[in-house]
Subunit: 192 residues, 2 copies
């Protein structure tokens, strides 16, 4: 998606260790007008799918998912990092390894909000090694719901997550796929 690629080139910051910072428009400050363009693109790409729910994971997926859900006219469920004494005991649980934070954490979705009747579009901001999305896929599978597709803002095409998900036959629509990036000169190449 051209406007997202252009924005990443303009405002993304490449750091050593294949870190791409998009804090200024995606995951700390959020450019809602850009999110609307992304939502419209996903709506076009998933037009043939019958989607009744969007699933994402806290925290940085929530804003994109909310704007996408408005476009699709469906509710959002966000998987929570397990910790709250407010949560019911009746949850689907999975473990996700976070390379960013260097630990494994438990993620839950209440059994009330995912069921075999649900046709789910999963939305997230980043896809790299795929751990977060594999966790969300596991939660959907446990609920007996159907995954209709996955929409990702930025995929790191040089990490294995995208291939893993496409190998499962799932329609994965990454709006920008970074093929390579260079921390020394800040350059970024996107997949054609």
């Amino acid at each position: 998606m051209r406007i997202l690629e252009e924005r990443i080139r303009k405002d993304g910051i490449v750091r050593a260790g294949n870190v791409l910072k998009v804090d200024s428009f995606i995951n700390h400050q959020m450019d809602i007008a850009l999110f609307e363009e992304m939502a419209k693109e996903w709506k076009r790409l998933f037009a043939r799918k019958n989607i009744n729910k969007i699933l994402t994971i806290e925290a940085s997926g929530i804003g994109i998912a909310a704007i996408a859900a408005r476009e699709f006219g469906v509710p959002v469920v966000f998987a929570k990092k397990a910790k709250s004494i407010n949560l019911d005991s009746d949850n689907y649980v999975t473990k996700i390894q976070s390379f960013t934070h260097g630990k494994i954490y438990e993620v839950i979705v209440s059994k009330k909000y995912l069921s075999p009747e649900d046709h789910v579009l999963i939305i997230d901001d980043f896809l790299a090694n795929g751990c977060a999305l594999m966790g969300l896929l596991e939660l959907v599978e446990r609920a007996g719901a159907t995954v209709e597709g996955i929409g990702v803002a930025i995929e790191k095409g040089f990490q294995r997550g995208g291939d893993m998900i496409r190998a499962k036959g799932i329609q994965l629509e990454s709006l920008a796929i970074v093929e390579s990036m260079n921390a020394e000169d800040g350059s970024i190449e996107f997949r054609k």
Copy 2:
């Protein structure tokens, strides 16, 4: 706001210890159509204010803030719980006590995304003792930005947070104010 009060009466669950669960439409599953009605109401209530940014805190404020920001035509910044190795060192930091999770945590906003030029509307899902909002107010003050108002979905009117904030002379617009609730019969009374 009548439709929010009616929804809380219909789908909110009152638990012992003054816990009000609104998981099914606000902070686990999110009813985006309801959020749009809330956003329009805040737009009406803050029509005289010149707002250029919405500030919220992860995680459950983000969805409401994103939909509100679309209505106002401004970006969102969400304060982050401090932990990520991806974050810059150049942040405003404050401590917030969470009664829900029984601990104190640090919350940050990058200095790049709050500045003296900003006229900020703070949005959050809940107001009870006011700890989270007082933390956000402190971040705005440190940045030298101006708070134009605070929009809250549900205020627990029997806790002190609302009074504390109104005593500061800040325009606080809570769309539903719970005056009392009863875990035995599940009843909820709203402030007129």
